[in-house]
């Protein structure tokens, strides 16, 4: 009896690695197996879209590129009751490192870039995926990485070009010159064009979908057209735009009231849309949710902005965009105009709108500008008039290149307002930002300084990575 006890004891005492082996948590997958099946590999990329479409992410709603850039430029006016510096500082062009304002897009984009890099290496190395799924996922991840870097470099200038998941290496990166970032964007997009399907696919990546919720070859082409335009590679921009505009079976300008519907309802203007998925608040789009001002008026939490007087007054009275894409509410005798591209703001209503990321309207304007820059006045006019016609505005009668470019710039402001920061980025790339903002900023209660065209890097990153340097003008 005693001996058995002792033997049992000794057996129990032997430290054994089996006793400390645990299975991975039942609630999650691990990096080693997440890319070993189609469904889970797709789910990682779908996760990027789902996060993007969420309230509070950079794509829509209260922390979106559209809102922040709209405030920084001359599109949006901040409600006087708003006391949150994360809005006030964008609005007054007085972003502050001390108050940690201005870093939202930086902090929002890099975690998604990590996922893209994880997919690119994980999917690339996996041998268990259906080949079609594998190429598609690689294409989507490359496209997304290019998409995020496009915004990062345009908002922050030179940004660290992180292309791997090796945090040890990445933690000590310095800023990469913008030209090199652009070069990577072009490489990624060109590869994505080759890898991606020309059809719009569903969540299995093996069947087509009436919706346009996953970027495909056309999305890569559209972004490439835009990137070439920003790089002033006019003919490249034009030829990429051609590819899209020429495929009229896929893409046509929609009627004014249909341009922001979901593709499945016949909106063939969409190139890439996002579905609102994650949030507990079930809405059509978060843009409608925050921009459409209720009859009770603005408030500092959920409806902090309205359209600037300057933008509203820029429209011709006959412009359908003024009457269909802008609405107003009267509170205490004061009229507040707000963006009304997305119309369904009530929660729990059937979904008819998806958040538009890229659409054909922009591609026409890209080609118009690219053509005008190359001296193709007639071609530019035709593209411009396609947009004007949809807005019920008469054809342009401007013939000289410089005036035509000015008209195109103006048309971009009217067509693309409060969409993905177009106005802010256009002002910067056309060097108009100082002349416009030195007038606009004082009206917003701030003072303009050319340094303010770049947002500041977050202090926490400067502290953690001492190879990073702050943008000029910021302490």
């Amino acid at each position: 009896m005693k001996i058995i006890f002792i033997l049992l004891l000794i057996a129990g005492m032997s430290s054994c690695s089996k006793l400390v082996e645990v299975n991975p948590p039942s609630t999650s997958l691990t990096g080693s197996n997440v890319y070993s099946s189609d469904a889970t590999a797709i789910a990682v990329v779908t996760g990027i879209y789902a996060q993007l479409g969420n309230q509070g992410d950079i794509a829509s709603g209260l922390k979106s590129i559209s809102l922040f850039c709209g405030l920084s430029a001359d599109e949006l006016t901040l409600y006087s009751g708003v006391t949150s510096f994360s809005y006030i500082d964008y609005y007054r062009n007085s972003l502050s490192v001390a108050l940690s304002t201005g870093s939202d897009v930086w902090a929002g984009a890099y975690p998604l870039i990590y996922l893209c890099n994880s997919v690119i290496s994980g999917v690339g190395a996996s041998n268990n995926l259906t080949p079609a799924v594998k190429t598609e996922l690689l294409g989507e991840a490359l496209f997304l990485r290019a998409f995020f870097y496009f915004y990062l470099t345009n908002l922050y200038g030179d940004v660290p070009l992180v292309l791997s998941t090796n945090y040890k290496q990445n933690a000590q990166m310095s800023r990469t010159p913008q030209a090199q970032v652009y070069q990577q964007i072009i490489t990624d997009l060109t590869n994505a064009q080759n890898l991606l399907s020309s059809n719009y696919l569903d969540g299995t990546l093996l069947a087509t979908s009436p919706e346009r919720l996953r970027p495909n070859k056309w999305a890569a082409t559209a972004l490439l057209a835009r990137v070439y335009l920003y790089m002033q590679k006019w003919s490249d921009a034009e030829s990429q735009a051609d590819l899209i505009i020429n495929d009229s079976s896929m893409f046509r300008l929609s009627k004014i009231d249909m341009a922001f519907l979901r593709a499945g309802l016949g909106n063939s203007e969409a190139i890439w849309q996002l579905q609102s998925a994650v949030s507990a608040v079930v809405t059509n789009t978060f843009d409608a949710f925050i921009f459409v001002i209720p009859s009770s008026g603005l408030n500092s939490v959920s409806h902090p902005v309205y359209l600037s007087q300057g933008l509203v007054q820029s429209f011709d009275t006959a412009d359908l965009r003024r009457t269909h894409w802008v609405d107003s509410v009267v509170v205490k005798g004061i009229v507040y105009y707000f963006p009304y591209k997305y119309k369904v703001s009530a929660i729990k209503t059937p979904v008819s709108e998806y958040s538009m990321v890229m659409r054909l309207g922009e591609i026409y304007l890209i080609r118009a500008e690219a053509r005008a820059q190359q001296g193709n006045i007639a071609g530019a006019q035709a593209d411009l008039d396609a947009i004007r016609a949809r807005a019920g505005v008469s054809n342009t009668n401007v013939n000289d290149q410089i005036s035509l470019l000015a008209v195109i710039a103006h048309e971009r402001r009217l067509e693309l307002f409060t969409e993905w920061g177009h106005r802010w980025l256009d002002l910067k790339r056309t060097q108009a930002v100082d002349s416009i903002m030195s007038v606009a900023t004082p009206n917003k209660g701030g003072t303009w300084n050319p340094d303010w065209e770049l947002f500041p890097l977050p202090l926490t990153d400067l502290q953690s990575d001492n190879k990073l340097t702050q943008n000029p003008g910021y302490n």
Binding site: M13, S15, A280, Q463
Partner: protein, 1132 residues
């Protein structure tokens, strides 16, 4: 009054005082002897009267009571006396002869007196013994001595050591408490000792079958201290251990036992997160070892490890955190020790050095806190009922601006900015009634919290089985308006039993508590300090929430009272159970097992009804309720082999054991939205959309092999060796196992003959030292894995699932290691009336496991990593206990302790190129605040100016390089001073806690720039009144600013050296006064005792700190309350 009775009560002295005939009497073969060493009275016994009362008590108890009262010793044959019938007595002040006559009547026993000794013998044997006594005479022959050692309740003491003085023989008692020493000289003196009991010295002239009754030690040096897998005493320990006992805990009306330790334990710093019931409590043993997580000690309750943090799925609502690690940016709230009834606790022992903790290996880098619950004692069933009731209030208010001062500030701020009141400046634009002046601290925090606490227990048993069953109930409300409350109910039981042959031993214990906590979701303190004094009334005339809406129907302020309708409730069930089994294989060798199970289940709900929302948000924000649950259960099995033996003057103990442990954590946080009505928020079924926010399903496994060897030579030289090999599932497969070891040595120099002879003043002196390694695996589970977790989607994207990553993986994770070196000196003077303990500790932690900060460009803010830094904590711990007065009716004891901690970063290879190049400085404390240097207000512009890194004066700073000043916000000295005075039946105890520290002051304003108004908030402390008004002003506060354009400047100044100042405090932490009814009074109503008491907590605070409470150091947290209670304790 007798001031002192020094020199009495010493065993040796007592022995020598015994007259010759008594010593002779001890030769009698059949007599069992009891030597009692109490204060011998100067009176002869004939003149003495004695008292005794009790139902069905054993004669042994009666005798020991008489011994206590008179100082007379009893000698008797245990075997005979054990068989006598119990007696029931109620006698007061009778002659001893009368009492003895009553108790011996009909028992077949007689007694006779000899000097100061009473011999109990069988009827008619008196003559026989005296004869034999004479006949044997004084023998010089060698003899054999047999005997038995029992405690006062008659239970055998197993493993007590019997040492022959001046010889080399020693033995241990067996499982029946018996011993035999062969072949020793008659006239030998034997010393009987056992951990936690008073040592006895007995002269053995001849063979005797003696029962030696050892009394529990009352001297602090000799009381049992609980250590890992065993017991020791302060006298014989080689480690650094501090203890508090049930008496200390019971004097304090606290709901978390950790709070009873505040100010009482050297080397341990404790702070409460806020004044709400069930609040978080942060505890640091010998400083902060880890830079930013994993600083919790290991909690062990009756041998079962207990969680130190709640699960991250429980938000804890307003409870505040316990200094825990943020897991995926979620810090759990509340404290798991809140779910243990302080009244069930017998003692808490804090193990601090490597010698004491290395046997816990990987988990005790931050010390170990051993909690031992109460067990029953042999005797008749005793019932104890204890009920108290009390009140609590916020005792300190901030000086804030009144309406007149406030409006002046706001108007000046607008004028400074060239603005006129905007339509949204409701406080000054005439929309609000500017004649109102509300003291929001009074309105929101001015209530009185009520406490009701009841404990009842029954205990008893016989010498082989003892039991205790207890129950508790506690009800506490808050100082907030509304009927928020916390209700707790609990059960505790303990059963101890051993087999008749004494070989098998079993102890079972269980603690169960149910807590039902109803609080508002948000602490109202922040609002109380910031609301504009002219803000509207909280309620409309009809009793509804007053939103003071503007004509468009939009609220003009955020009414804090709405928080009271955002209900938070937390229901917790906590079970801790354990079993200890032991079987004596052969003499000195025991096989033991410790088995335990704990289960901590918490369900939380937070409801956000429309009623609590500003009207304009009701249409756009859906009705939401958050439900979360968490469950942590663990089991442990620890088989052990324990060996103890004595060889001459040497005593050897050896322990070898193994731990197999598993902890399973499961948690979920679920949000339901789209409810049709406020009334349905309690049911998830009514939600139209349900989202799972987070789920936790983690398994933690732990396995270890440990051993300990201790050796004691002649109670002079002590050495203790421990080792442990640990494996934890929290590490990658390559680094799962690690070894830890420690050595402790001590020299009791006062036991050296040459010192003993020359030192009558010093009664005890010990030098000790220890060195060893311990570890830390307090990181989240699965951190070495690259984990992808499902995104919860209300409307799945393209109707498919989505995944995202949880954290950056680090497959190379290794154990963290702390090296601890400690030296100690323990001294006692004047026969142990003054006891001093001093310890100097140097702890170095390296390879620290923590979330290593990363730039977000890497994809995440941090990665769990072995940190290259070495952090050193030095602490000097001093404790002094002095019995100032010890007299029959009047006693006064003083205890003082102080700790001087020093923390610094000693090494950080390649710091300049790490994420911490701007945060840490080698040679400075790890949480040093790097501050700007304040240079006053620019007389021309009215804006703060600072000195930059080059010494130039500037108003715009480089946030990375201009932080030239370093401020240490860790406490630099802390401790407590306790006095206990008893006079007759009165008992007064008071404890002062003191902390010397620096922390942020409110000199420059509250949360926002003075002059800024937002959502109804904008008030400021009166310190801002000295602001700059016009060019040329030499002010300390910058100009008021309404639009936030000076927000950065305000941010700089609150991070400047001038924003930190002395936050030291001395606090009357605890006062208790009790009165016990005199025995004669109580006996008439057949009760054991009635005790009335009043207690107070945090009654007086002396501080220069400008915030609300120097303990919470927060502007958002309800201060710790001043509590005053009164109660009664009844014993039957």
């Amino acid at each position: 009054m007798e001031i002192s009775n020094l020199g009495k009560g010493l065993p040796c002295a007592t022995w020598k005082l015994l007259p010759q005939q008594v010593r002779r009497a001890m030769r009698l073969t059949a007599i069992l002897l009891t030597v009692v060493c109490v204060n011998v009275s100067a009176h002869s016994y004939e003149q003495q009267t004695v008292s005794f009362s009790g139902k069905n008590v054993s004669l042994i108890k009666v005798f020991s009571s008489i011994e206590r009262q008179t100082g007379i010793s009893f000698f008797f044959n245990y075997a005979i006396v054990e068989k006598t019938k119990p007696v029931t007595l109620d006698l007061r002040n009778v002659e001893m002869d009368e009492l003895l006559g009553i108790v011996l009547r009909g028992q077949g026993l007689s007694y006779y007196k000899s000097g100061k000794t009473i011999f109990i013998v069988k009827d008619g044997d008196q003559q026989k013994y005296s004869v034999q006594n004479d006949a044997t005479g004084v023998s010089k022959d060698k003899i054999n001595v047999k005997g038995k050692v029992v405690n006062e309740e008659g239970s055998p003491l197993i493993g007590a050591s019997i040492t022959v003085k001046d010889g080399n023989k020693s033995v241990l008692t067996d499982e029946k408490g018996s011993f035999e020493i062969k072949n020793i000289p008659a006239n030998s003196i034997i010393i009987i000792s056992f951990v936690g009991y008073q040592k006895q010295i007995v002269n053995v002239d001849e063979v005797g079958k003696a029962v030696i009754v050892l009394k529990q030690a009352t001297n602090i040096l000799d009381q049992a201290q609980v250590i890992a897998y065993g017991y020791t005493t302060q006298r014989l320990s080689t480690s650094n251990i501090s203890s508090i006992r049930s008496a200390d805990i019971e004097r304090q009306p606290v709901d978390n036992p950790l709070l009873a330790m505040e100010g009482r334990v050297p080397g341990v710093f404790i702070a409460q997160a806020n004044g709400l019931p069930g609040s978080g409590v942060t505890i640091r043993v010998q400083g902060q070892n880890s830079i930013n997580n994993g600083n919790d000690p290991l909690y062990v309750i009756d041998g079962v490890p207990y969680t130190s943090q709640m699960l991250a799925t429980t938000s804890g609502g307003p409870l505040g955190n316990s200094g825990g690690q943020p897991l995926n940016n979620a810090t759990p709230g509340g404290n798991p020790l809140s779910y243990i009834n302080p009244a069930d606790i017998e003692r808490i022992d804090v193990l601090k050095d490597a010698d004491a903790t290395a046997i816990y290996g990987s988990r005790a880098a931050n010390g170990a806190i051993l909690i031992t619950t109460k067990t029953g004692k042999a005797g008749n069933a005793k019932t104890d009922i204890n009920v108290y009731q009390g009140i609590g209030q916020v005792s300190h208010k901030l000086h804030l601006l009144n309406t007149q001062q406030y409006l002046q500030m706001r108007h000046e701020a607008l004028a400074n900015d060239g603005l006129t009141p905007a339509p949204t400046d409701y406080d000054v634009n005439g929309f609000w009634d500017t004649t109102r002046n509300t003291d929001w601290q009074k309105a929101l925090l001015g209530g009185t919290a009520q406490f009701t606490n009841a404990n009842a227990s029954v205990s008893g048993g016989n010498s082989s089985t003892q039991y205790l069953v207890g129950g508790m109930f506690r009800y506490a409300t808050t100082v907030f308006p509304g009927s928020f409350n916390d209700k707790k109910g609990g059960l505790h039981f303990s059963i101890n039993t051993h087999s008749n042959d004494g070989k098998f031993h079993l102890q079972l214990s269980g603690n169960y508590m149910v807590d039902d906590n109803h609080l508002p979701q948000i602490d109202l303190t922040n609002s109380a300090l910031q609301l504009a004094p002219d803000a509207p009334p909280l309620y409309n005339k009809d009793g509804t929430i007053n939103w003071m809406t503007n004509p468009a129907g939009t609220s003009t302020w955020f009414n804090p009272i709405s928080n009271l309708y955002n209900l938070y409730s937390s229901n917790t069930d906590n079970l801790i159970s354990n079993a200890k089994l032991g079987y004596k294989l052969i003499k000195g060798l025991e096989i033991k097992a410790n088995l335990g199970y704990t289960n901590l289940q918490t369900n939380e709900t937070s409801q956000s009804p429309d009623y609590a929302k500003p009207p304009e948000l009701r249409s756009s924000t859906p009705l939401t309720a958050v439900f979360s649950n968490s469950n942590i259960n663990s089991w442990i099995a620890e088989p052990q082999l324990d060996y103890i033996n004595v060889f001459g003057k040497s005593k050897l103990g050896a322990l070898i054991g193994s731990t197999i442990e598993q902890q399973t954590s499961n948690g979920q946080k679920i949000t339901g939205t789209g409810y049709p009505a406020d009334q349905l928020l309690g049911s998830l079924a009514s939600a139209t959309t349900v989202i799972v926010n987070s789920t936790i399903a983690a398994v933690y496994k732990y396995n270890a092999l440990f051993g300990r060897l201790n050796y004691n030579f002649d109670d002079k030289y002590l050495i203790d060796l421990t080792g442990r090999r640990d494996g934890s599932s929290r590490f990658g497969p390559k680094n799962q196992f690690h070894d830890f070891e420690a050595i402790g040595i001590a020299w009791i120099f006062t036991n050296e003959g040459f010192i003993k002879k020359n030192s009558s003043f010093m009664s005890f002196g010990k030098i000790r030292g220890s060195y060893g390694t311990t570890g830390n695996d307090q990181i989240g589970d699965y951190r070495y894995l690259d984990v992808y977790t499902p995104l919860s989607q209300a409307t799945p994207y393209q109707n498919t699932s989505a995944l995202t990553y949880l954290n950056l993986p680090n497959p190379y994770l290794e154990w963290e290691e702390s090296r601890k070196l400690q030296f100690g000196l323990d001294l006692a003077f004047l026969h142990d009336r003054i006891i001093f303990n001093g310890t100097y500790a140097i702890n170095r932690s390296s390879n620290q496991l923590l979330p290593y900060n990363l730039p977000i460009i890497t994809g995440y803010y941090n990665v769990t990593e072995n940190f290259p830094a070495t952090v050193e904590n030095r602490s000097l711990e001093l404790a002094l206990t002095s019995t100032n007065i010890r007299a029959s009716k009047f006693n006064w004891t003083t205890t003082v302790n102080a700790t001087i901690p020093r923390n610094k970063l000693v090494a950080f290879p390649n710091l300049a190129n790490s994420s911490y190049s701007y945060s840490y400085v080698i040679g400075e404390p790890i949480n040093v605040v790097q501050a700007f240097h304040y240079m006053g207000v620019n007389a021309q512009t009215g804006v703060y100016q600072f000195s930059d890194q080059h010494g130039n004066i500037t108003t715009s700073l480089n946030l990375l390089t201009d932080r030239t000043k370093r401020i240490n916000i860790l406490p630099t000295i802390y401790g407590g001073l306790e006095n206990r005075v008893t006079y007759g039946d009165f008992d007064l105890n008071f404890l002062f806690q003191f902390v010397k520290q620096i922390n942020s002051n409110l000199r420059f304003g509250n949360v926002n720039v003075p002059g800024f108004f937002s959502d109804g908030n904008g008030n400021q402390p009166t310190s801002v009144l000295g602001s700059w008004h016009q060019p040329g002003d030499n002010a300390k506060i910058m100009r008021f600013n309404s639009n936030g354009s000076l927000a950065s400047s305000f941010g700089y100044v609150t991070s400047s050296d001038a924003a930190f100042s002395d936050a030291s405090f001395i606090r009357l932490k605890n006062v208790s006064l009790s009165w016990k009814t005199p025995d004669n009074l109580i006996r008439r109503i057949h009760m054991a005792y009635i005790r009335f008491y009043v207690e107070g907590q945090n009654l007086i605070t002396i501080t220069k700190y400008t915030g609300l409470d120097p303990e919470t150091l927060s502007l958002n947290a309800l201060p710790t309350l001043s509590v005053f209670t009164g109660g009664v304790q009844l014993g039957f």
